[in-house]
């Protein structure tokens, strides 16, 4: 089982009454409570894991290992942070360890074939391509085959794939921040807590991530039938 650590005391946040009820249910081994939390956080956990590992299969293993640690450790969890914060600290530790191991097993230079080198292709681009290929059938495959949120169907598959591609090009920390802030809607404070960064650092990471994704989407949208104005009805 992966070796993980709890968040340091200064990063802990008091749990709400609702969270205490949830924690009580989890400590009592309430299977429906576990199943509900597993479903609620699955997408977030998978996305955060993908900031560090190369493919969906590895990310799913990270999520599963996280829950194994949580099941084993829930009796010792003191509730000095929210259950979500506790879970994501575990996940991030496991994902980072797994990512470092993957990188050791597959050096970046190995990704650059003779043809790519001759063509002047950036090794980083090759890594991104390799991650997409390892995911199975491109980034859309990340979301295929499972029960999806009906509202998410608003996103066309092609556009969704472009968004996933844009996220995959980000540096791990930038990706973590934009996933938690803009995809999952977490507060800045909770993201700082999970990632162990200052608010200033979090803002810089988020700004850079947003700029990169915006530029990727801008190029895509300008050449498609989709119009940015479709989504701007709440502008000042």
């Amino acid at each position: 089982m992966p070796n993980v650590s709890l968040p340091p005391p200064q990063e802990r946040r008091a749990a709400s009454d609702e969270d205490r009820l949830l924690l009580g249910a989890l400590r009592d081994g309430d299977e429906s409570a576990f199943a509900q939390v597993m479903d609620t956080h699955f997408s977030s956990m998978l996305r955060l894991a993908l900031s560090h590992v190369n493919d969906r299969a590895s990310a799913e293993e990270v999520v599963q290992d996280t829950w194994m640690v949580a099941i084993e450790g829930i009796g010792r969890f003191e509730g000095r942070s929210t259950v979500r914060t506790w879970l994501f600290h575990i996940l991030r530790n496991i994902a980072r360890g797994r990512g470092r191991k993957d990188d050791r097993l597959r050096p970046l230079s190995a990704l650059q074939s003779a043809d790519a080198a001759a063509a002047g292709i950036d090794p980083l681009e090759r890594l991104v391509d390799a991650r997409a290929a390892a995911a199975g059938h491109g980034h859309a495959a990340l979301w295929a085959g499972h029960n999806s949120d009906p509202e998410a169907e608003l996103l066309a598959g092609e556009l969704r794939e472009q968004l996933e591609t844009a996220l995959a090009t980000l540096a791990p920390r930038q990706r973590e921040v934009i996933v938690l802030r803009d995809v999952e809607g977490w507060s800045a404070a909770e993201v700082c807590n999970i990632l162990g960064v200052t608010d200033t650092n979090q803002r810089v990471l988020l700004h850079r991530a947003r700029e990169k994704v915006r530029h990727e989407m801008r190029q895509y949208l300008s050449g498609s039938d989709l119009c940015l104005d479709e989504y701007d009805d709440d502008l000042p």
Binding site: F34, D39, F42, H146, R214, E230, D232
Partner: protein
């Protein structure tokens, strides 16, 4: 009047609702007068909204079943912290209480 550079520096805080009132008003005034910053703001908001609409999924059943099996197994182990009574010192009385019913 706020400059484009200043507006760019305030953009994320504006989108996140973290800009103080006076600065928010200055930002809005600038955006109304600057087509370039209006376009950037539209793109940022559009991208953010699209990200929020990325689909979510439930945990695949095989994984969930494996984990629930692990939960049952961990609870059945005699030396498991889950299976053992949780006993602690009551802070006010100094006596022990078994919190398991």
């Amino acid at each position: 009047m706020m400059t484009c550079r200043e507006a760019a520096a305030s953009l994320d805080d504006f989108v996140d609702g973290r800009l103080p009132l006076m600065r928010r008003q200055a930002f809005a005034n600038h955006v109304h007068a600057c087509s370039t910053c209006t376009q950037v703001l539209k793109e940022v908001r559009c991208t953010r909204r699209l990200l929020r609409r990325l689909p979510r999924e439930r945990m695949p059943d095989p994984m969930k079943n494996r984990l629930l099996d692990e939960l049952r197994r961990s609870r059945s182990l005699p030396d498991s912290p889950r299976a053992a009574p949780r006993i602690r010192i009551a802070p006010t009385l100094g006596t022990t209480h078994n919190h398991r019913k």
